[in-house]
């Protein structure tokens, strides 16, 4: 079966078909049966389409175009790698800002984890905070109580995340769509009230210590550690979507029955999606534990699960760059750092204090900004721009990847498919 790619540009298969089809029947038909006039309508249509497709396929940016693209890439690299650690930067950021940046990277991993489930497999999880939380406490337990190394702890946390997600996935195979959402909700509730309340595991009210390894003790080096893991997760996610498994997942999300009749093992691939999602979530949990250094169980409430769903959907399902940006945005908004970073900018340019406006004029404390703005963005996303941030930035992303700037790139009409049934 053919699966159309999400971006509007035609793939190589489509280009081949258009060149082959028109040539053959017109010639033969004219020789054999003289009465029939040659049918030339489709030939004309194809010729009309050809040059456009050709132009896009063979498009190479000019020298200036390359320079502009490289400049944007450099600025992006500077923003991610150098800006938070005050390297080659006119701004000076405090340690807490770097710490917030690490958190943004961790949230991005969580967002990618949820994207595998929600975007690729079409299953909603309302208990993702439990996966992350169990990863966090496992890692802390391994480092503090078992006195094992940090890397081993991360591996154990990721592995446990994989196992528990696979078990929940096995359950989900017997349930469909909306009922599975209920199970994850109950699982999250159970983890929060039962598992996270075991004092031996979570340290009770005071929280559990989760020391960082000596090499990554400072907030700066820890930021690069988080970035490194984010890069690994991005790579794995990219390989997943490009592999046979990724195409199988896409097919079974569109329609499980059709996929199964094409020989796709629905159960195995759904379980795979769960396992990958759990692996990422456990990894994010471990990073979160050592980022906070003291991990408290109140952190993993239902609101966090909703925030995860929110940032993934607003980021744009199935769009890696969108999910990363959306997650980072919500992480910074959640911790209040986005506003404090924007404050000097608005002060100098507009002579206007955003923080004063929000806390004073509107009367909204900073810690609740994400809670008020987030749902509004979510509702706007699903009703008006189902592709989320990924859709908004698609033209720029395509351009940066060396293609023509196309305002309509990455247009999607629906977030999910119509075949998720209860």
């Amino acid at each position: 079966m053919t699966i159309s790619s999400r971006s509007g540009s035609p793939g190589p298969d489509a280009a081949e078909e258009t060149t082959v089809i028109p040539v053959v029947p017109a010639q033969d038909g004219a020789d054999e049966t003289t009465t029939l006039p040659p049918i030339d309508v489709p030939v004309l249509e194809d010729e009309e389409f050809e040059p456009q497709a050709d132009r896009d396929a063979t498009f190479r940016p000019s020298r200036a175009g390359w320079a502009a693209r490289s400049a944007v890439w450099l600025v992006l690299a500077w923003f991610v790698l150098a800006f938070p650690v005050n390297f080659l930067s006119p701004f000076t950021l405090g340690v807490s800002d770097v710490s917030a940046a690490s958190e943004a990277a961790i949230f991005a991993i969580v967002g990618l984890s949820l994207n595998v489930l929600l975007g690729y497999a079409g299953q909603i999880s309302l208990g993702h905070q439990a996966f992350v939380g169990i990863g966090a406490f496992t890692s802390a337990y391994v480092v503090v109580d078992l006195e094992m190394g940090f890397w081993f702890a991360v591996a154990v946390a990721s592995g446990l995340g994989l196992v528990q997600a696979a078990i929940l996935g096995a359950v989900s195979l017997r349930l469909t769509g909306l009922y599975f959402a209920l199970v994850t909700l109950a699982f999250g509730n159970f983890a929060q009230q039962t598992v996270f309340a075991i004092p031996e595991l979570t340290g009770g009210e005071g929280g559990k210590e989760a020391p960082r390894p000596a090499m990554f003790d400072s907030d700066y080096s820890y930021y690069f550690l988080c970035l490194g893991f984010l890069a690994v997760v991005l790579f794995l996610d990219w390989r997943l979507t490009r592999s046979k498994a990724g195409r199988a997942l896409q097919a079974l999300r569109e329609n499980p029955r059709v996929a199964s009749s094409y020989g796709i093992n629905v159960k195995a691939y759904t379980l795979l999606a769960f396992a990958v999602s759990g692996l990422f979530a456990g990894l994010a949990g471990a990073l979160m534990a050592h980022h906070d250094e003291v991990i408290v169980n109140q952190k993993f409430g239902f609101q966090l699960a909703l925030l995860f769903v929110l940032m993934t959907v607003v980021g744009g399902l199935r769009s890696r760059s969108g999910v990363v940006i959306g997650s980072a945005f919500f992480a910074l908004l959640h911790s209040g750092h986005l506003l404090s970073l924007l404050e000097p900018v608005t002060q100098t340019i507009f002579r206007f204090s955003l923080v004063d406006f929000i806390t004073g004029t509107i009367g909204l404390p900073i810690e609740f900004v994400a809670l008020v703005i987030g749902p509004i963005l979510l509702l706007l996303t699903i009703t008006m721009y189902p592709g989320g941030i990924g859709q908004q930035i698609a033209p720029i992303r395509e351009w940066m990847l060396g293609r023509r700037f196309d305002r309509h790139a990455g247009k999607v009409t629906e977030v999910e498919v119509n075949d998720v049934r209860a």
Partner: protein, 303 residues
């Protein structure tokens, strides 16, 4: 000091039925919305909390009387329900069900956000009861009049809904969900029916919120996952009712309340913390895996 087991059992069942009444009210709203539009409404409990906040505001800040405040709270809850239908459900009517689920979860989160915004100075709020009286049952359980009122309201609402679904409007709701196009052809306005469903569901949520509010102190998100976390138990009750049966939702609500309270028995308590959540999770899994069509379902009415 531990009470004998049968006394604990009596106490747990009393508390379970009383708490279950709130769950049943939420479950009724969930079942109604599912029957009317085929949607899992995660905002159901937040209609209640928002109504409770409005009633609290009217009573404590504005100093209106209790009946006026109660009606005001109900009005706000219903308005929120209708707004949800207009702004979220209607534009998304052709989307997949998971999109709609995310939409209702977004409404719930937005409601919580606005509650925080509205009352961010007040940390702990408590709504006065309709009647502060309480009494002891012979087996030693404390029952407040407020809880009995909730139970009574539940009974009235359940009977009322059962009758309503036999009336032309009630039948129209089902018809519109099953065959929207055909319903339009026989003169049912799907739009008005949808508004009606969400209005009634929000009113049920409002009742649950304003009646359960005085049980304890409350804060934002009270009825979803706060002190009286009725969202998940409400959904469980609805699942027990096969997402369709109104009497089943009431029975399911009471049963879920009892099961949750049974976990507080001393033979279970102390083994694991938060046994209630564990028992509910296992129970939900069991029901969904063994009898996904629900327990309290009689003959499925198709008309």
């Amino acid at each position: 000091m531990n009470l004998p087991l049968y006394e604990q059992l009596a106490l747990a069942l009393t508390a379970g039925v009383l708490r279950g009444a709130v769950y049943a009210l939420v479950a009724l709203g969930i079942v109604l919305v599912f029957r009317g539009s085929g949607i899992f409404n995660f905002a159901q409990a937040e209609f209640g909390t928002t109504g409770l906040f409005a009633a609290y505001w009217a009573l404590e800040i504005k100093g209106w009387g209790y009946p006026t405040s109660f009606l005001f709270g109900m009005g706000v809850a219903i308005a929120l329900g209708l707004l949800t239908e207009r702004l979220v459900i209607h534009p998304l009517r052709d989307s997949s069900r998971v999109t709609l689920l995310v939409g209702t979860a977004g409404v719930a989160l937005a409601a919580i956000g606005f509650q925080f915004w509205w009352f961010n100075e007040t940390l702990v709020m408590s709504m006065p009861k309709i009647n502060e009286a309480f009494f002891m049952t012979p087996w030693g359980a404390v029952v407040t009049v407020q809880e009995l009122i909730t139970l009574g309201v539940l009974a009235v609402v359940a009977v009322g809904l059962a009758l309503f679904f036999r009336s032309p409007s009630g039948l129209a709701i089902q018809a519109a969900q099953q065959e929207p196009v055909a319903s339009e052809l026989v003169g049912i306005s799907v739009r008005r029916v949808s508004m009606l469903t969400w209005g009634i569901a929000a009113a049920l949520g409002g009742l649950a919120g304003i009646l359960a509010g005085p049980y304890l102190t409350f804060s934002a998100g009270f009825l979803s996952f706060g002190a009286v976390g009725a969202l998940l138990p409400g959904f469980m009750a609805a699942v027990l009712a096969g997402m369709r049966s109104m009497p089943g939702a009431v029975a399911g609500g009471l049963l879920v309340g009892c099961i949750e309270q049974l976990s507080s028995l001393s033979i279970l308590d102390g083994a694991v913390p938060g046994a209630g959540a564990l028992v509910l999770f296992v129970f939900l899994l069991g029901v969904l895996l063994v009898r996904p069509q629900g327990i309290f379902v009689g003959k499925v009415a198709t008309a």
